[in-house]
Each structure stands twice: as structure tokens, then as C-alpha cells.
């Protein structure tokens, strides 16, 4: 608007942040996520790994929540809160790494498919179709079960199953942006293809990529938990939310807290990412907002 120029100058990112700030739910998500990350970062400060996370005690088995153990203890007498806090140190980095990989690889494939020739597009997208035809959780399960359970394999499996959706989204974003008039304008002033992709196309398809990434991190956390739940997770005694749930479930009736809290932790994390993702979607694309 004409008079806007009198106001403080704002970059695009600042404008997004300003819109995001208005969205109470998104901020709630951000706060929860920040807290989770904070506790994950400083987990060792709150709960010593050796003495609180993996130290067992037959005497402390399955104690209900109390002043000492806020969320109770598990089947080998470890503090559940400590394990949940330390569990975030697994779930979050793994999720972030998988999505980083998927974003880069999928984004690159998508960009090549979208900007490249029809044949390249066809080849890439048909391969993606094949992967998309297998439910992603099954693909992860198959890969992990086949490769063996380890952190690396889990990262690999979840990354692979996340690549096709990214490729698809980036491709369609590139395809739309490719036809924008400002791309033509850039070509008219003699910009090279490289410059067009880097300076004009990519910055403009960041919005769907960021949104997809945020929501995929949520999906990835769920996938990690799911894999652990069916016994394909990270090896013990590493605290991992899904495996806590999985081992806890046989004691579930006698000791509800062993399952309830890890599940809540997963849910809260996913919830915060979803809130943030929704908020980012609205903030990045004001059109979608009413």
C-alpha cells in the first residue's frame, strides 16, 4: 500500500514473522517446540544420563508418578521423565536430519524435474510414482527390517520414504513459478538459468518447502516412533519414545504411566510442529488466510 512506505522497512522474512506472531496457535507451537528443544539440548544438565536414564533399580520398578519421579518409573526402575527428556535427543535430531536429507535430495530432484526437459521430468517422476505407490511407513519398515536396526538405517529409510513427496511438491512449485512473468522478465534482462533458479525460482518456492518440511518433521517423528513400536527402533538402553511405548505396553494396565507419557511426548512434539507448520503456511502464503 502506498502509505506503507512510511512505516518501518521490512524484509519478507520479517513480514512472515510479523504475520506468524499474530497467530496464537503457531506461537503456542513454537513455544512448545522451543521448550522441547531446550530440554533436549540441556538434558544432561537436568538428568544425568548414566545415573538417571539408564541406571536400573529393581526396587524402583513401575512406581507411579510421585514427587521424586514426576512421571513415575518404568519396568526397570528408570525415571520416565528423564528418559523422555533424553528421548528428545534421539527423535528430534533424527527427524531433522531425515527431513534435511529428504528436502535436499527431493528438492533437487523436484527442481530438476520441474525446470529440466520433459524427458528428465518424466524419468524422475515415474520413479517417484513407484515409491509413492508403496505406503511410506511400509517402505520404511521394509528398509529398516531388511537393513537391520540402527540409527543410520533408520535415518536412511525415513529419508528415502520422504523424498518423493518433496520432489513432487518442489516440482509443482517450480512449474508454477516457472510460468510467472518475473521469470520471463529475468530472462529478458539476460539472466542465466543458474541465476534464474537460484535467485528467482528457489526463493519463491521456499514457502511450500518450509511448510512441507515442518509437517514432515512431525511425520518423521511419528515414523521413528512407529518403527520402534514394532521393534525396529534404536537399540536399548537408548531412550527413544517409540520404544519406551513399545516396551511399556505390556505393563500398561498395571502401570498406565509407562505408556501414557511417552505417547504424550510424541503427541506434543508432533502437535507443536503441526501448529507451527499450519501457522507458517498461513504466514508464508497470505492468500490462504481468510
Amino acid at each position: 500500500m502506498a502509505t506503507d512506505v512510511n512505516k518501518k522497512k521490512k524484509s519478507q522474512a520479517a513480514a512472515v514473522w510479523r504475520r506468524l506472531k499474530k497467530n496464537k496457535m503457531a506461537i503456542l507451537g513454537l513455544v512448545i517446540l522451543a521448550l522441547i528443544i531446550f530440554f533436549a539440548l540441556f538434558a544432561n544438565f537436568f538428568f544425568d544420563y548414566d545415573t538417571m536414564v539408564i541406571q536400573q533399580s529393581a526396587a524402583l520398578r513401575l512406581k507411579p508418578p510421585s514427587a521424586e519421579h514426576w512421571l513415575g518409573t518404568d519396568e526397570v526402575g528408570r525415571d520416565i521423565l528423564a528418559r523422555i527428556v533424553h528421548g528428545a535427543r534421539i527423535s528430534l535430531p533424527v527427524a531433522f536430519i531425515t527431513i534435511a536429507i529428504a528436502t535436499v535430495v527431493g528438492g533437487l530432484l523436484g527442481a530438476i524435474a520441474g525446470y529440466g526437459s520433459k524427458r528428465v521430468d518424466n524419468v524422475i517422476m515415474r520413479i517417484m510414482d513407484v515409491f509413492l505407490a508403496i505406503p511410506s511407513i511400509l517402505l520404511s519398515i521394509a528398509l529398516v527390517a531388511a537393513l537391520g536396526t540402527s540409527m543410520t538405517n533408520m535415518v536412511l529409510a525415513i529419508s528415502i520414504s520422504n523424498i518423493p513427496p518433496f520432489a513432487r511438491i518442489v516440482r509443482s512449485a517450480v512449474l508454477t513459478i516457472k510460468n510467472e512473468e518475473y521469470i520471463e522478465a529475468a530472462r529478458a534482462i539476460g539472466a542465466s538459468d543458474k541465476r534464474i533458479i537460484l535467485k528467482h525460482i528457489l526463493p519463491n518456492c521456499m514457502a511450500p518447502i518450509i511448510v512441507q518440511a515442518t509437517l514432515s518433521i512431525a511425520g518423521s517423528i511419528l515414523a521413528i516412533a512407529s518403527l520402534s513400536f514394532i521393534g525396529l527402533g534404536i537399540s536399548p538402553p537408548t531412550p527413544e519414545w517409540g520404544s519406551m511405548l513399545s516396551t511399556g505396553r505390556q505393563y500398561f494396565r498395571a502401570a498406565w504411566w509407562v505408556c501414557a507419557f511417552p505417547g504424550l511426548a510424541i503427541m506434543l512434539t508432533i502437535l507443536s510442529l503441526n501448529l507451527l507448520g499450519d501457522g507458517l503456511r498461513d504466514a508464508l502464503d497470505p492468500k490462504l488466510k481468510n
Partner: protein
């Protein structure tokens, strides 16, 4: 809710500041509409007065964002709420205040007594139903008739606007822009309304098609004797189709009168600027005489005359006080202090006298 009382006690003939024809069909008084967005309040319409007589066609002209569409939508209370809100005013139609009508009554009026033609024919038809059915729908809504009768009547309407009946079952995407707009027109006249609100009905169309559609509308107007509120920003269109014209700026009418009155001797500096901005086909000017500056930000409207910041003749007084409409002879009304003699603007007067 103190305006409630006002609305109830106000008589339809009320005390408008201007003479009002006895056969007034639509009378809008002091209409105020706001849009409340997350960040700001947009003052879209600010105390707008407007009348349309029976069988009369009025052109409402103004630039983007002047509040034209908002005005038209307010008549049928079609403003999206949220974010839109009609905060004040009265809209009298055949002795009824539309702003106080019950939802049921409103629905009876919509489409049968007052109908609308929207700006963009590409989007104002529902893409998933056949055009014929969409016309028949409005007929079934307001008239008791069988399926066959409805179908027949809708077919008649199509033919009336020059589309063969055979295309009844086709879908909007199979029609060109001009044809779609004709379908919308057919829909709007299907129940023989007394008033048609046409919101930029030809802006989205090509010149030759635009001419066809305008011609069709003029024809229908003659034939059906309906009143027409034609919204546009094209002064040419108004000149060709309308009896009277009202110039709108920043949510209010700044000048109104018959075509001859306004077009031959525009009074308001804004109107004069508008005429100066359009290249003429008749004379070859080296330069145009555009109005400087832009439309005001509708969230922070100027205190006094909204046009003052852009007006070459404006003086301090203009920025200080709200200006009322005053007569400039005949039915010609203008909202300008210079014309009320509050201050002297000899160059303006010269321009006015010179006319076009």
C-alpha cells in the same frame, strides 16, 4: 444498537439533502461499510447517499478501491461478514429497509426483485453445473413451476441473450467470456427484477465483446423497463448506457447528475481530473493531464475532503472539514467547498465553465 431506533423511525421519503424523484426505487442513505481485517479497519464506504428511480439507469464511476462493489453488495446484504460490516445507514427498496429485512424476506428479494451481475463472468458461474440449470435454479427459487417449465423458461432466457437453446446443457468452461457474461445476464433477468445491480459487467471482456454486451444490456433495459445500477470505472461505458451518473471517490459520492450535466460540465476537481486522464479519440493531445498522487489509504482516510491531498485547488479549509453535497443546478450535485463558495478557485471555475 442506538441506530436501531433511527432505522425504524426514518420514513422512506425522509429528508434527503437533495430533491428526490417521487418514483424512487432504491434509496441509499448515509451508508457506511467497514472491513475489519487482522491488521486494520478499511473504511470502504463512508456515508454514501444514492437514489435510483424506476426505470432509470445510474452509472457509478470510481477508481479501484473507491467502494463501488461494496456499495452494490450492501444493497442485497451480500458483504462477507467477517470481515465486512455495514455499520450505519439505510437502504430503502420499495418501502422496505433492506438492512432490517429478515433473512427469509431478503432471500425473496434477492434474484427476483433485485438481481446482480458481477464483474468477472469467468468466476461468477458455478463451474460444475450446466448453464441452463443455473438459470433454471433462480426461476425455481422464486416461481412455482415444474421442472419442464423451468427448463423452458431458462431456455427462453438463453435465447433472449442470444445463446442458442441447444447449449442449455453445456458447462461454463465451454463458453467464452462474453457468452458467460450473457448467461449471467440471462440469470439476472430471469425473474424480471425491478433493479439490476451490474458490477463492472464488461471490464473483463474484449472491446468488441464488451460492446455486444453493453448493447444487449441497453436493449433489455428498454424492453423490460428495469432500473439499472451500472458500476464501472469506464466513463465511456456510462455515457453510452446510463441516464445519470454518480462519481465515487474514497467511499463517497463526490458528484452526481445526468450524463449531460456531469459529462459536459464536470464540477468536482476529481471528475475533471478523471476526464483529463483519458486520451480522447477525437483530439490529439501531446500530453494527458493526469491527477497527481494515488487513491488515499482506505484505512486512514484524510480528515476533511478525501480528495484534498491530490486536489490542485485545495486550501486549508478543505483538509479541515467534511464537505456536504450541494446542488450545482438541476439534478447536478457536487461535494466541493469551492463550489459552495467557501473559497475562491478561479482556475477551477474556469475549467468548469469551459466544460468539455
Amino acid at each position: 444498537m442506538d441506530d436501531k431506533k433511527k432505522l425504524e423511525t426514518a420514513a422512506p421519503e425522509g429528508s434527503a439533502p437533495y430533491a428526490q424523484a417521487p418514483d424512487t426505487l432504491l434509496d441509499i442513505r448515509d451508508l457506511r461499510v467497514e472491513y475489519h481485517t487482522d491488521e486494520d479497519v478499511v473504511y470502504a464506504v463512508n456515508g454514501l447517499d444514492l437514489t435510483i428511480g424506476k426505470g432509470e439507469s445510474l452509472g457509478l464511476v470510481g477508481e479501484t478501491g473507491a467502494g463501488k462493489t461494496t456499495t452494490a453488495l450492501s444493497v442485497l446484504r451480500l458483504i462477507a461478514d467477517p470481515p465486512g460490516k455495514i455499520v450505519d445507514g439505510e437502504i430503502w427498496f420499495e418501502g422496505e429497509n433492506m438492512l432490517r429485512a429478515k433473512p427469509g424476506r431478503l432471500r425473496e428479494i434477492r434474484g427476483s426483485k433485485i438481481s446482480v451481475i458481477f464483474q468477472d463472468p469467468m468466476t461468477s458461474l458455478n463451474p460444475v453445473y450446466s448453464v441452463g440449470d443455473q438459470i433454471a435454479e433462480v426461476i425455481h427459487q422464486h416461481e412455482k413451476c415444474s421442472r419442464e417449465e423451468g427448463r423452458k423458461k431458462a431456455g427462453d432466457m438463453l435465447e433472449m441473450v442470444g445463446i442458442p437453446r441447444a447449449r442449455y446443457d453445456e458447462y461454463p468452461h465451454q463458453f467464452s467470456g462474453g457468452m458467460k457474461q450473457r448467461v449471467v445476464i440471462a440469470m439476472s433477468i430471469a425473474c424480471s427484477p425491478e433493479l439490476i445491480l451490474a458490477d463492472e459487467p464488461t471490464t473483463a471482456l474484449d472491446v468488441t465483446i464488451q460492446a455486444q454486451v453493453l448493447e444487449l444490456m441497453s436493449e433489455l433495459k428498454e424492453k423490460l423497463r428495469t432500473s439499472l445500477l451500472l458500476i464501472t470505472h469506464d466513463l465511456g461505458v456510462v455515457a453510452q448506457v446510463c441516464d445519470r451518473v454518480a462519481i465515487m471517490y474514497a467511499g463517497e459520492i463526490v458528484e452526481s447528475g445526468t450524463i449531460a450535466e456531469v459529462f459536459d460540465h464536470p464540477h468536482h476537481p476529481y471528475t475533471i481530473g478523471l476526464f483529463g486522464s483519458i486520451p480522447s479519440l477525437d483530439e490529439t493531445a501531446e500530453k494527458l493531464k493526469p491527477i497527481r498522487g494515488q487513491m488515499p489509504d482506505p484505512t486512514v482516510l484524510p480528515e476533511g475532503c478525501a480528495f484534498a491531498p491530490r486536489c490542485p485547488y485545495a486550501v486549508e479549509t478543505c483538509r479541515a472539514q467534511r464537505v456536504e453535497m450541494t446542488s450545482a443546478g438541476g439534478t447536478h450535485l457536487v461535494r466541493c467547498l469551492a463550489h459552495q463558495g467557501v473559497f475562491q478557485a478561479p482556475e477551477l471555475m474556469e475549467e468548469v465553465r469551459h466544460g468539455r
